[in-house]
């Protein structure tokens, strides 16, 4: 039982993997651009969880993992802002937020 409830590094890694897969799956299948952005956040946060987990279990005396996860958060916010801006202009232009309709790069 103690194995089950004693939360260790592996639990965090599995959690991050699951979140990452959800994000990836969402990017592949979702049609709405807002959902795509949310899924991108999932992926980034999975990476962030990994950093924090390794920082607190493996490399305890060093703070670089924690700092890096902070950077990822800031980066994610910036990316989100840009993404929403692009989304708004695309919506103005196309009157839709559907990814499947954005096929201007078709060869």
């Amino acid at each position: 039982m103690s194995v089950v409830f004693n939360i260790g590094l592996y639990h965090y890694l599995i959690l991050a993997l699951v979140i990452f897969c959800i994000g990836l799956w969402g990017i592949v299948v979702c049609k709405n651009i807002i959902k795509l952005l949310v899924c991108a956040e999932f992926i980034l946060n999975a990476a962030g969880i990994n950093f924090v987990a390794f920082a607190s279990y493996v490399d305890v005396e060093n703070l670089s993992g924690l700092v890096f996860s902070l950077f990822i958060t800031i980066f994610a916010i910036a990316e989100l802002v840009l993404g929403v801006l692009l989304l708004i202009s695309i919506y103005k232009y196309k009157r839709s937020a559907d990814v499947e309709k954005l096929t201007d790069m078709k060869g």
Binding site: L24, I27, V28, V29, V99, E100, L102, T103, D104, M105, K106, G107
Partner: protein, 649 residues
Amino acid sequence: MNAVLTTISEYFVQSIATVLFLPLWVVLMIFINSSIPFLASKKMTLNLTLGSSFLGFVFAVFSLFYCIKNPQALVENNITWMSTDFQISFGVFVDNLSALMLVFTSLICFVVQLFSFGYMKKDESFHRFYIYLNLFMFCIFGFILASNVIQSYVFLELVGVITYLLIGFWYKKRSATRAARKAFIINRIGDVCLLIGIVVLVYFSVVFNSAQNMVTLSYSTLQFAVETLYSMVSDNAYLAIGVLIFLGIMAKTAQIPMQNWIVGTIEAPAPATALMNSFGIVAVGVYLCARFYPLFILSKSLMIFITFIGIVTALIGAYVAMSQNDLRKILAYSTSSQLGVVLVGFGVGAFSASIFCFVVHGVTKALMFLVGGALITSLKNEADIRYMGACREKLPLYAFSFFIGAISLCGALFSGFYSEASLFNSVLDFGNEFLSFGFLLFVFMSAFYLFRAYFLIFEGDKKDDISQDFSEWTIKCSIVLLSLIVIFIGYILRGCFGDFIFFISPDKLNYLNLVQNVLLLFVVFGAGFIAYQLYMAQNKTYIILKEKALNKSNLPYKLSYNAFYFDKVSDWFAESLFLRLCRFFDFIEKYVIGGIFVVLALTTRVFSYIFSRSQTGNVQSYVTYSLIVLSGVLAVVAVLYILGSLMGV
């Protein structure tokens, strides 16, 4: 006084490069002047141009004075132009020959520019004409003052370009553009030969003289260079180099078989024609021949070649001129034949007599072309001498100056007397009977066509009463000035040659020999008498003779009238043969070489079409593909890793 003069002339000769660049500045000024819409002043253009050529004349006279005072001194100012294994410099070079040429070129430029003001006043491209004249001055001065062979070649090409521009001045006339193109192409053939000759000369000079580091082929070291060349290469190679260089000279001086472009010069405005036929592009050829004289004189066969070409051209040109009806054509063919005689002079070794003959011919021919141009304009652009007649009463000045020019050109009186007699003396000294006889025949024919033109234009019955004297003061002024020059220049120059204008050894002119002079005068006035009988007197015998000679089916007449069909042959060569060859190559270029590229382009198109189909434009599909590929790669890596650990690597 003398010391002051010496100092002044030294100053002028040291700053002679001013003469070269002044016309360029004037071109800029005229350009600015002519582009101001309402203030563009023709007077100002004229004054600037005359100023620059007059200044050139002053510089040239002082340089000549300097060269007379210091017969062996050469003035050479060089800057390095290109420097590789050997140096090519750019500079000015003044010796007695270039000073003499400079004096006459600037003088004739001055007179022609003065004449042009009256002649071109009503033309809408007045300023353009003056710009061309100034560019011409720049090029010809640069050519005369060039210090080495390479620089000469550059300016020679520039003179060719200006000739093209001047002949094609009235570019809306189809005949003018055609003539301009023809002159340019024929000159180009000569230029290519000349360039090959020069390059070979430079090459051998580099090979043989690199130890002494004297390979600039400057004119001051040319004699040394050609002597080394002569001692090093075989006779045939030397002959080939000489012939190549002489081919360039032949094209410039309108010698057989490249003479028919000279007729095209009549398409230019009359003053430009006068310039080109006197001290223009033909002067380039003669000057080049004089400069390369050390090269020619070493080889006996070369000198014979030059003499042969010269005498054949002289005879053919004069023969053709006898039957032409266009006044300007007569004069143009006359240029070709007179220059042939100048080359004969070079060939028999009479350097001074040739240069003398050339200078006198240039001045005289300029006068005759100017008079002809003014006359034709007075007669409402009627150039056919058969429809002129009795112009002497209404246009006495033209008649008088034309007569002076004609008499001088055929060597009877005035300047022509001295030059022709001294050349005849040298030809007789050469000792070839055929050559002497050919020379006499040439004199006879020249006198005949000149007297024929004079009688038909100025004497006889009035055929048309359209003649009116329209001329401006500048036209009259320049014609009077030039007539005076033609009368006196031979008398002034006759003593100078041999004293200071010589190249290799002093050769005195010998023009006073009673028997020869009487013989020449007899031939000239005999020709004049025959012309008078044929065209003026109403003698039955002569009329029948004339009608027989001018029969359209008469072969000698046909040959003469059609200029020995040289024109037709070259036109056939250009239009039938060469153009067809060009079309054939054009076909190959279009359909064979072009086809290869079309096939290449089509292949690319097809593949791009195929591959661009795979781009759906849907971002999610791209993500899916890359995920699949990534997982595939990961799977392969994993399998390899597992296999590796199983194998125990």
